[in-house]
Subunit: 119 residues, 2 copies
């Protein structure tokens, strides 16, 4: 069986702390990222994260795009689970700019009964 989905786990480091702590800016960036990838947004939910930061997800027809931020570490963890044709690269490039990240590290996995690391 071929892969059913693709799951990208992305670590954004060296981000702007003020952005990572800003619920409205994170929400806007995540929605813009989902749109940039061509995904169909179903709904979204974001909230302030304890003790700092913002947490939430955009539920898309093609799966989900989630974020958790740690302003005190200038770090954000993003995951983009997708099925079908979405341009995840466009979403991640937009997020890198929006978060002011100085570096990113991406782990790409296929999901399915034979899911495995593939890059």
């Amino acid at each position: 069986m071929s892969a059913l989905g693709r799951h990208l786990l992305v670590e954004f480091t060296g981000c702007e702390a003020a952005v990572l702590a800003d619920l409205e800016r994170i929400t806007a960036a995540m929605l813009e990222a989902a749109r940039a990838s061509g995904a169909t947004i179903v709904t979204h939910s974001f909230h302030h994260f304890s003790p700092h930061g913002v947490s939430g997800a955009v539920i898309i027809a093609e799966s989900h795009l989630a974020i958790h931020t740690w302003p005190e570490h200038r770090f954000a963890a993003v995951d983009y689970f997708s099925c079908g044709a979405v341009d995840t690269g466009a979403a991640l490039a937009l997020l890198q700019t929006a978060l002011g990240a100085t570096a990113t590290e991406t782990l790409s996995l296929t999901r399915g009964p034979l899911g495995r690391l593939d890059g």
Copy 2:
């Protein structure tokens, strides 16, 4: 820096197709799983997935718990991103029973600037 979060990616195989296609049952199982792990539920969103199955996420104070199901393959992909003390094992055991999975495969990752595979 120690890990900031833990991200479990779980493949449930051999599931009951009828359960995987049932929006209400998947929603109930995911909420029950979040509660079983001791997480604080913030909100949730589930919807029918194209062309089959159910997709959605529970946003918890400690991060998120998401699922995507493929009834036609008797397969469900779950991910549980957690920060702080939650009993992810209890959540996954509950889901295995609820989905009728005959096998599970779990990838556990730490998330953070030095995120890495750890099991």
